[in-house]
Symmetry: C2
Subunit: 447 residues, 2 copies
C-alpha cells in the first residue's frame, strides 16, 4: 500500500530499506502492516510497500532487518521545557504554585542562563531520542541555546518565542522577550529541523496588550501559539477576579483562538469551553503525568476526543513529571482517559498512537513533514522491540506499544533519515559527557 510505483518500474537506488516485523503508519488510521518495508532516500520516506515489491524495485545502499520489531513514526513531544531536565526531582510532592514560587522560580532565577539551557536541553534531547521522540515543542528562556543543543544531537525542535511580563536573566520585558525570540527565529530560520512557536507562558503571566501583539504576529508569520491554559482551578479563579472571565474566554476575546492555538494542559473545561475549542479548531497538548503530579486535576479527554478536537501528548518539563518519556505519556493518556470517563473503550491504542505522532505534528503545523509514514514526509522514525521475554506474549503490536512496552524497548531512532539513537545510547554525544553535565549541575544546585 501507499506504493507510488508502477508494477514494472526500473530498479532504483535508495539509501536505506527497513524491513521490520510490523509497520504502524498512522496514516491510514488504525492499520498494522506485516510483510512490508519502508524505503528511505535523502532523508525522506520514499515508499512503503510489500517486501517482495521492495526487493524488485529498490537497490538499497543499506538494508536493515528488524524481526520482532515494530516501525512507526518518531514521537512528537508537544509540550516540554527541555532545559528543566537539570531540575528533575528537584522539588516533588508540592502543588503548582508552591512548586513554582518556592522551588523552581528561585532556582531558575539563580541558574537559568544560556549555559544551563544548553546543558539541560542536551540531556533532555538525549533522553527523548532514547525513547523514540524525534520532535519536541519547547518553551524556555534562551531558545538559541536550546537550538544549539538540539542541532548538536540532530533532533527536530519547535522552539518557543517565550514571553512573560517580568524580567529574567534572558529578557527585561514582554517587548524584549519578543524581540529576542524573533531574532533567534531569523538566525535559525534556514535549518530544516528548526521551527518556532510564539510561546506566551500563561494567562497569569502575560498581559492583554502582549496577547494582542502575539495574535497579530502569529497571523503575520503563520506560526502557532503555544500557551499554558486552564491548568489549575486557581488560575481560573484568579482570572475571574482580575479579568471577569475565565482564561479561555479572555484569550477568545483577544483573538487568540483558532487552528494556530496549542492549548497546553486544558485540565478544567466546562462543556461550552469544549465546544468552543472544537469550533475554533484549536489543538490541545495533553500532559497527563504533569497534571497528576502537580495535583492540577484530570482533563476530560474522552469528551475532548468525542468532540473531534486534535490533541497531542506532552511530557511537560522533567521537574514536574519526572521523565521525558512519550511511552509513559501514551500509557497515562490511554489509562487516564478511560478511568476518568469510566469508559474502557475511550482513547484506544490507535487513537493514542495517533496523538503521540500525527496529533502533535498537526498542532505544530508540521503535518506535511512528519507524524505519519506517508511517502514524501521526512524519515522521522522509531523502531521498538516487541520480542523481549519480559513483554511476551504479544497479540497486537499497537496495543503492546501503549500498554506493555516502554522506552527501554526502543531500538532505533531516526531524524530525517539519520540514525540518532541505537541500542540505548544517543549517537551524537558521549554518555560520559551527559553524566558530566548532570553531575556538574547537580553540584551547583545543591551547593
Amino acid at each position: 500500500m501507499n506504493s507510488p510505483l508502477a508494477p514494472h518500474s526500473i530498479t532504483e537506488d535508495i539509501d536505506l530499506l527497513i524491513r521490520p516485523e510490523w509497520i504502524i503508519p498512522i496514516e491510514p488510521a488504525g492499520v498494522t502492516l506485516t510483510g512490508h518495508a519502508l524505503a528511505v532516500n535523502r532523508g525522506n520516506i520514499h515508499a512503503l510497500l510489500p517486501n517482495d515489491e521492495a526487493l524488485q524495485h529498490f537497490r538499497p545502499k543499506k538494508t536493515l532487518d528488524l524481526p520482532g520489531q515494530v516501525l512507526m513514526p518518531g514521537l512528537v513531544n508537544l509540550h516540554t521545557h527541555a532545559a528543566m531536565s537539570l531540575l528533575r526531582g528537584y522539588a516533588d510532592d508540592l502543588p503548582l504554585m508552591r512548586w513554582l514560587s518556592e522551588r523552581i522560580w528561585p532556582a531558575e532565577s539563580k541558574y537559568a542562563g544560556p549555559e544551563f539551557v544548553r546543558a539541560g536541553t542536551l540531556l533532555a534531547c538525549a533522553e527523548m531520542l532514547r525513547g523514540g521522540v524525534t520532535t519536541f515543542n519547547d518553551m524556555y528562556f534562551f531558545p538559541d541555546a536550546a537550538a544549539t543543543a538540539a542541532r548538536q544531537v540532530g533532533m527536530r525542535a519547535a522552539l518557543g518565542i517565550v514571553v512573560v511580563e517580568f524580567p529574567t536573566a534572558y529578557a527585561a520585558d514582554a517587548g524584549d522577550y519578543l524581540a529576542k525570540g524573533l531574532a533567534a527565529r531569523d538566525a535559525l530560520g534556514a535549518d530544516p529541523l528548526v521551527s518556532f512557536c510564539l510561546a506566551p507562558h500563561a494567562p497569569y503571566t502575560v498581559a492583554d496588550k502582549t496577547f494582542n501583539q502575539i495574535a497579530t504576529l502569529s497571523a503575520q508569520l503563520e506560526i502557532p501559539i503555544h500557551v499554558h491554559l486552564h491548568e489549575t482551578r486557581h488560575e481560573i479563579e484568579e482570572s475571574l477576579k482580575q479579568h471577569g472571565v475565565r482564561p479561555l474566554e479572555r484569550l477568545h476575546r483577544l483573538g487568540l483562538l483558532g487552528p494556530q492555538l496549542i492549548a497546553v494542559h486544558a485540565v478544567h473545561l466546562d462543556a461550552s469551553e469544549i465546544d468552543l475549542l472544537a469550533h475554533e479548531a484549536c489543538h490541545l497538548a495533553h500532559c497527563p503525568t504533569s497534571n497528576l503530579k502537580l495535583g492540577s486535576g484530570i482533563p476530560p479527554m474522552a469528551s475532548i476526543q468525542a468532540h473531534g478536537i486534535n490533541f497531542g501528548l506532552g511530557t511537560d518539563g522533567a521537574a514536574s513529571n519526572n521523565r521525558l518519556d512519550l511511552f509513559q505519556e501514551m500509557r497515562h493518556a490511554a489509562l487516564l482517559g478511560k478511568g476518568q470517563s469510566e469508559n474502557a473503550e475511550a482513547l484506544d491504542a490507535h487513537a493514542i498512537l495517533h496523538a503521540a505522532t500525527l496529533g502533535g505534528a498537526r498542532a505544530l503545523g508540521l503535518e506535511e513533514r512528519i507524524g505519519s509514514l506517508l511517502p514524501g514526509k521526512a524519515a522521522d522514525l522509531c523502531a521498538v522491540r516487541l520480542d523481549e521475554w519480559l513483554i511476551q506474549p504479544c497479540f497486537d503490536p499497537a496495543s503492546h506499544l501503549v500498554y506493555v512496552a516502554g522506552r527501554e524497548q526502543v531500538s532505533h531512532t531516526w531524524v530525517a533519515g539519520n540514525l540518532r539513537m541505537c541500542n540505548g545510547d544517543p549517537l551524537q554525544i558521549n554518555v560520559s559527557e551527559l553524566l558530566d553535565i548532570a553531575g556538574l549541575w547537580h553540584n551547583r544546585l545543591t551547593s
Copy 2:
C-alpha cells in the same frame, strides 16, 4: 542504626554484606540512609549499620558494593492473577464485564488447566523478579500448579484458596473449590516461602452461605481473606438489586470485615464506607492501572490514606494492566492519588514506598517476616541503579524510585537471602524457556 551490636563485639561470620550508595529501610518511616551496610546471614537480615561498624564486626563470605544504587525491601504485589500473563494484551480497550464475558472467561474455560497455570505463573514470576517483586498475592485456579512455578524460581507466594459458585476445569462448586484449596494448603504448608489466603472471587460470584463458611475458616486457620470488592458501579448496582445493600455492607453483615480482610480495588466508596473500613482495620489492595484500564474508575486514595487505612499495591493480572510491574503501580498510585484529590502533597514518595512493601506485607499478615529492613526479617531485597545517564540528575533517591526509575533499573532481587535475579534475567530459569512458553501459548490462543 538498628544495629544490635555492642561497640566491641567479637568479629562474626556472615554470608553477605551489601554496601549500596543508599538504603531505604521503610522502618523507620521516611528515612534514606547513606554510608550504611546490610548484613545478611542464613537468609535473614542480620544487621543494618554504618559501613565502618560493619567492617569491624563482620567477616562476610561475600561483600557486594553497589555504588550509585539504592537497596530497599523486595516489593509485594498485593493482588494478581499470575497465570493470566499468558493473556497479556489478549483483549484491550474493553469494559470489565464485556472483557470478562466475551474474552477472558471463554479463553479460560478452554485453556486454563494446570499446565496453563504453571506456565503462566512461571512467566509472571520471572517478570516480577525482574522488577524487584519478591512476594505476590495470587488469586487463580490450580494454586498447586502456581506453587510449583513459584518454587521453581524461588519466589515468595501467598496463594489464593479460590472460590466461585460455578464449575470450572478446576472444581465443581464452592465446596469443591474450598476442599481443593485447603488440600493444597495442607500439602504445601511446610514451605516457608508459601502462605495462603482464602480467596472468594467477588460478591457477584460467591453466595452468602459460602461467605459465611469463609469467615469461619479465616478465623479458625488465621489466614487472610482476599476478595475483589467495589470494583465497578455495576457491581454495586447489582448488589443493591439482589441483596438490597451494597457489597461492602453485605460482607459486613456476613462477618467478613476485620484485619483479616484484603479488599481489592475498592474504587467506589462513600464516606461512611471509608469510615467502616478504617474502623474495622481492613486492608486495601490498590490496583491503579487495572482500575483505569478497565474504566472502573479512580479510588479516593487520598481520603483512604488520611483515614489511616493500610493499603498495598497490586498489578492485577497481565490481561488488565498489561505489566506485572510494581514500579509502574507505585508511580500510578502516587500520581493518581494527587490528581484525583487535586492535592500534590497526597501520597508522597515515602508513603508509596511503604505501600509497595510493608503495606502489602501487613495486609498478608507477613509483617513479622517481610516488608522492611529490620534485623530478624527475611532478606527479601531489591537493588536499583540510580546512576544511569538517562535518569540524571538525582536529588532524592526515594522520589527517584517513585517518579523516575523503572523496573529496567532493578539490578538485583533477593528472596530469603538468595539471589533470584541479576542484570535483567531470572537466575532459576532460562530466558529461552520463557520465550518457548509464551510462544506455545500464543499459538494455542490464536489458533
